[in-house]
Structure formats: structure tokens, C-alpha cells
């Protein structure tokens, strides 16, 4: 817990907060100022907008500890504010609220528009209000109300926010702080989960929605390459971040797949089974995994087929995968797909190295743009 003090609606307010406490939670739960509403909690809807150092800011993606010493004004603090009084009257006249849920955030934003942009026309007002969602779709009344106040004020000088550069709420830090003690959030502290049973095809995981295929030319005789593919543990190491042990009595591999994607980290508890058709020199790896940290499940199926090409070998690989849970719901589906594509490209790249007798390369080919060239060889299709 950290002791902080803010100037809240003109009064000093002190609190002990945990670092993860949102400014909005501090206002609602500790200061009991429930006029500030929490909607989406990721900065999109605008319901939690408050004034920080005189400028609007999202109280859901601003942490209370980052506002120590800041000046915060909520909708309750605007009772005696002349601009807000004009806006409240205009909101009443123009029927600018229906259920009222978005109104506190709308008023804070509207006050900023009126103060900062004298003479703004309806289009500009509409644009400036784009960050405040109204679930009754009552935008027209809000725009008319703001326009009414802007017009009534006429030609006035704009009021610009504080002189200080940098994020509103932040203060210069004068003294060094004691280094923190590590807290246990690493995947190692996650309780062991029971191994996921693996059938010959994924059954209870998300259905594979994506597929990619690639062919590798390997300068080695087909029998030597086939022998390499029998070493499934070595094969699994071609996937960056994979740690699998030897197969158990049922032929199932158990292990982990660590994934890092910018600030996102996941550690999938995974199991996989290899099945082969030696006469056809074909095989498949079917696996599934669960990441307890982000609550995400993945199923993957890697099918491979070896073909003799003169004295060398052509390896056809087809990967199908499906994601479900939080990572999949991350509203940027294409990013997750592109990330999976990269993992696949990395796998193919390391497989080439393995077949050439080189150890797996832990640094992704992405580092030197190689993977973009690899991608040219990948064919993407949604199945």
C-alpha cells in the first residue's frame, strides 16, 4: 500500500492505495464520490472522465498512485463552477441526457470544449465528443447543448491547461525510492494443472480457425529427414519458447510454451501427441494448451509430409490453430493471427536449422526482418 494525497474538489484527500487502484476506484470507493462512473475500464467510453490538473483525463486508465499531489475535480466539484452551471442549464433545455450514465463524463468533456475551443462549430463539437459514448445514443441533444453554451459565450480567449509539460497528474520526483521487493506474479507460481488429455484430434479446445501452409526444401536424403522427425522433443524445440519433456507411456508430451507479445506474456501448460504413417512418410502433432495467466486456450495441429526430390527432400507443413479466451477476445484479432503466423515462421526457420544440424535460434528471425521474407512463403487461408 502507498500513502498518497490529492487535492480533491478543493480539499486535501489522503488515502492508502495499492498500486493497481484506478483513480476512479479511489474516487468512488474511498472518497465516496460516485458521480464518476466506470463503464468500459479501458479508456474507450469516457464515463470516468474527470479533470486532472484542470484537464480531462480517464480515471480508469490512470492509477491513483500516479496522481500523488495532483489536483482532481470530479462532477461533484463543479457545483459552483460558472461554466458547468451554464452547461447544466443547457443540458436540461436541450434534453441532453436520458439515462444519465454518461452525463458526468459528458459534462467534464463539454466544459473542456467550451473553455479550450471558443467558437467551435457543431462538427468540431461532435468530433471532440467522440470519446464519450452514450448508451441511449442521445448525442444530438448533447451537441446542441454544448453549441448553445459556446454561442452564448461568443468571442473569448481560450483557457489553456497548466503550464507544466508531461502527463496531467504527474509531478517531478525529487528523491530516489527504495527498490521494491519482487512480488510473485511469474508463471512459475501458478499452480500445476492436471495434464490435458489429448485425443488424436482436438476435441474440447477451440476449433482450429486458421491455417497456414509452407514447403521447405532440405538438402538431405528423405530417410535422414524422416529419422529427424521421429525425435519429437527436438522437433518441439523448434518452436521458440517451447519446453517439452520426453513422451509419457501413452506417447503424450507435456510441457510449457512461453509466449511474449509486447507487454503480453503467456505460459501455456501444453500437451501434444505425435502420430505417424511411416509408409507415407507423413505425421501430425496435435496439441492443446491453457494459459492460466491470461485465461486463454489454444489448440494446434501440425501436419507434415516428406517427399523425395532427387537426392533431397521437400517438407510440406500445414499448421492449423484455434484460440479462445482473453487473448482471442483482444479486439485486435489480426494482431494475434499475425503473431501466430510469426510463431509458425519461426518454427519453420528453426526446423530448417535443425535439419541442417544447427541449434535452434532463440532470437526470432523477426529481429532481422527475415520473418517478413519467410511470410512470403506462407499462404494464409481461413478455414
Amino acid at each position: 500500500m502507498t500513502a498518497i494525497a490529492i487535492n480533491l474538489n478543493g480539499r486535501r484527500f489522503e488515502a492508502d492505495v495499492s498500486p493497481r487502484t484506478q483513480l476512479a476506484e479511489l474516487l468512488r470507493d474511498k472518497a465516496l464520490l460516485t458521480g464518476t462512473h466506470l463503464g468500459c475500464e479501458h479508456g474507450i467510453c469516457g464515463a470516468c472522465t474527470v479533470l486532472v490538473d484542470g484537464a480531462p483525463a480517464r480515471a480508469c486508465i490512470t492509477y491513483a498512485v500516479a496522481c500523488d499531489g495532483a489536483d482532481v475535480v470530479t462532477v461533484e466539484g463543479l457545483d459552483d463552477d460558472p461554466l458547468a452551471a451554464e452547461l447544466r442549464a443547457a443540458f436540461r433545455e436541450q434534453h441532453a441526457l436520458q439515462c444519465g450514465f454518461c452525463t458526468p463524463g459528458m459534462l467534464i468533456t463539454a466544459r473542456d470544449i467550451v473553455a479550450r475551443l471558443p467558437g467551435a462549430d457543431s462538427d468540431r463539437i461532435r468530433l471532440e465528443l467522440a470519446g464519450n459514448l452514450c448508451r441511449c445514443t442521445g448525442y444530438l441533444g448533447v451537441i446542441q447543448a454544448v453549441k448553445q453554451v459556446v454561442d452564448a459565450r461568443g468571442e473569448v480567449a481560450p483557457l489553456l491547461p497548466a503550464e507544466r509539460l508531461g502527463p496531467v497528474g504527474a509531478r517531478p520526483c525529487a528523491q530516489a525510492v527504495a527498490p521494491p521487493t519482487p512480488i510473485a506474479t511469474t508463471p512459475e507460481t501458478v499452480a500445476k494443472v492436471a495434464p490435458v488429455p489429448v485425443a488424436s484430434a482436438p476435441t474440447d479446445g477451440p476449433a482450429p480457425q486458421h491455417a497456414l501452409a509452407r514447403s521447405l526444401a532440405v538438402t538431405a536424403p528423405v530417410d535422414a529427414v524422416w529419422a529427424q522427425f521421429a525425435d519429437v522433443v527436438a522437433l518441439s524445440r523448434c518452436l521458440p519458447g517451447a519446453e517439452f519433456g520426453a513422451p509419457d507411456a501413452q506417447g503424450v508430451l507435456h510441457g510449457r510454451l512461453h509466449v511474449k507479445f509486447g507487454p503480453v506474456r503467456a505460459a501455456f501448460e501444453a500437451s501434444a501427441r505425435q502420430t505417424t504413417e511411416p509408409a507415407e512418410r507423413r505425421g501430425r502433432l496435435v496439441g492443446q494448451g491453457r494459459d492460466r495467466l491470461t485465461g486463454t486456450r489454444v489448440t494446434a495441429e501440425i501436419a507434415y509430409a516428406l517427399h523425395a526430390a532427387d537426392a533431397d527432400t521437400r517438407v510440406d507443413i500445414e499448421v492449423r490453430y484455434g484460440l479462445s479466451g482473453r487473448l482471442a477476445q483482444f479486439a485486435r484479432g489480426a494482431l494475434a493471427e499475425r503473431f501466430a503466423d510469426r510463431l509458425t515462421a519461426d518454427f519453420a526457420y528453426n526446423l530448417e536449422r535443425l535439419l541442417a544440424g544447427a541449434p535452434p535460434d532463440a532470437t526470432a528471425p523477426a529481429a532481422d526482418g527475415l520473418w517478413a521474407r519467410l511470410l512470403k512463403w506462407l499462404r494464409l487461408s481461413n478455414t
Binding site: 492509477y63 500516479a66 468530433l127 519482487p182 512480488i183 506474479t185 517478413a372
Partner: protein
């Protein structure tokens, strides 16, 4: 949702921040304005052990004119730029771009350096700053090095920074008076993440023709010499625009969905037309 628990430190110096980032036992991550990381924390997509807040480090708020342009500290906000509170060497380009980022309430806390280091491919600065020829100052508390803005992102969300390194600021060169600038982004709603964006800088006096494509689901595609995209004959840049060359470029970046191709092609053409307007 509420974030998973984390520790929090407000660093007083770059040295202190860098030392915390280098420690292997803390799982530390920088936070500046937190307008991109905050949502990921609240959605529990990101669960770091420690946040190192660098907004209290004074030199990160530098904003000064230099011999050949301006220097802006990493913690200068989009709103600071939008409001003309920092010196400008681009004839107002930076302010216009800044004003189109997300929403005012986000711009009041979101920072230049944070946006770059977060490396969201749909971010405006990762597309705009390479095109303007920005050079980043990378600091690890012990030494500094310079890095062209276009070389920062290896992939989406993956800046080329070693453990302990952070972006301290950036140098922006002065554009010549004849420089033409075009920028266009396509969003389904103002302030939403862009689905396609493009920036064009044509500065014949300095022999510059740069193009960057952004919002590609991958790192921006920054062409320091974009003359290959303008191979057709014609006096105006927009007449010389070669759609086939653009298609080949998109293909080479793995963009083969026809709708995505069309979107990026049109957005780039509009950026070029704006540069010629």
C-alpha cells in the same frame, strides 16, 4: 476489470529507472502516461510485476530548439504538441497529427515516447516520426545512443531496446519551406485505432521522398527512399503514383487480403494527394 497486482515505483532519474528495468527478478515494465498499457493491464492481458513510472524524471520533459531542428523529451504529451506548447520545426505537422490521436482526455496523459515504445502498429507516432526523419535518443542510465525512429520497431509491440534501455527523447530535423507533407488514416470512428494509415514526406530541396505505411498488423513499413512507388511519368507526385508497385510492396509484407490491400492502397493514395494539394 481491475489489473492483477503489481508493484509501483516513481523513478527520480533515468539511472534509477534503467537499473530497475535491468533487474531480472522484478519483471519490470516502464509506464509513462499509461494510455496504452493501462487498458492492457485492466484487461489483464499484461501482468507485469513492477511498473516503473518515469513521468517524474525532469529531463524527459525537455522541449527545446536545436541547431538543426527541435529536441522533444519522451514524456511530452500529445496534448502538449497539439497545443503548440513545445517548439516546432515541421510547420505545424506535429500539432495536426497529435490532435488526431485518440481523444483529448487520452492526449492529456499519453506521451510521445510511450506511444513509440509501446509499438502499437496502429499508433500515429510509429508511422509519422520515421517519415519526418526523427532520431531517437536511447538511454540506459549509463550511456546514450541514437536510433532512427524507423529502426525502432522490429515487429508489432516489439521495440529494439535492450534490457534497461529506454527512449529519452527525439531529435526532429527542420523541414525546408518547400517540403510537402501528406498524412491520412482510416478509422471507423474518430479516435478509434486506425485500420490503415500512411505518411508521405516529399522535400525535393533535401532530396527526400519518404513513405511509411502504418496499421499493418505488424511494424510500420518505412521506406526511406520511396521513389520506386512513383515510377510513372507525370509532373505531379500524385500522377506518378504507381498502384502496381504499391500492391507488390503490400504483397511482400504478407498483406494479401484484397480488402486490406484496397484499404492500404487508397489510404496511401489519399496521403499522396494531400502532399500535392
Amino acid at each position: 476489470m481491475k489489473p492483477a497486482p503489481f508493484e509501483y515505483v516513481r523513478a527520480a532519474s533515468l539511472d534509477e529507472a534503467a537499473a530497475l528495468l535491468r533487474r531480472g527478478d522484478l519483471d519490470a515494465r516502464l509506464i509513462a502516461g499509461g494510455q496504452s498499457l493501462g487498458p492492457m493491464l485492466n484487461l489483464r492481458l499484461a501482468q507485469p510485476g513492477l511498473l516503473v513510472d518515469i513521468t517524474g524524471v525532469p529531463e524527459l520533459l525537455a522541449a527545446e530548439r536545436t541547431a538543426d531542428g527541435v529536441y522533444l523529451g519522451a514524456c511530452v504529451t500529445h496534448a502538449n504538441v497539439e497545443d503548440g506548447r513545445v517548439p516546432d520545426a515541421t510547420g505545424g505537422i506535429l500539432a495536426r497529427v497529435a490532435g488526431g490521436i485518440a481523444y483529448r482526455a487520452v492526449r492529456n496523459r499519453g506521451t510521445l515516447g510511450g506511444s513509440l515504445a509501446h509499438g502499437d502498429p496502429a499508433g500515429d507516432w510509429p508511422c509519422v516520426l520515421p517519415t519526418l526523419g526523427a532520431v531517437l535518443q536511447i538511454d540506459d542510465g549509463r550511456s546514450t545512443r541514437e536510433l532512427p525512429a524507423g529502426a525502432l520497431l522490429r515487429a508489432a509491440f516489439e521495440p529494439a531496446l535492450a534490457p534497461g534501455e529506454l527512449i529519452a527523447g527525439m531529435r526532429l530535423p527542420t523541414l525546408s519551406p518547400a517540403a510537402r507533407w501528406g498524412y491520412y488514416k482510416h478509422c471507423r470512428k474518430p479516435g478509434e485505432l486506425a485500420e490503415a494509415m500512411a505518411a508521405v514526406l516529399w522535400d525535393p530541396e533535401r532530396d527526400i521522398l519518404r513513405v511509411t505505411l502504418g496499421a499493418l498488423d505488424d511494424a510500420p513499413c518505412a521506406l526511406d527512399d520511396a521513389s520506386a512507388l512513383f515510377g510513372r511519368s507525370g509532373s505531379r507526385l500524385s500522377d506518378r503514383f504507381d498502384s502496381d508497385a504499391v500492391d507488390a510492396l503490400l504483397q511482400s509484407r504478407g498483406i494479401d487480403d484484397p480488402i486490406a490491400q484496397q484499404m492500404h492502397r487508397v489510404v496511401l493514395r489519399r496521403a499522396v494527394e494531400r502532399a500535392c494539394a
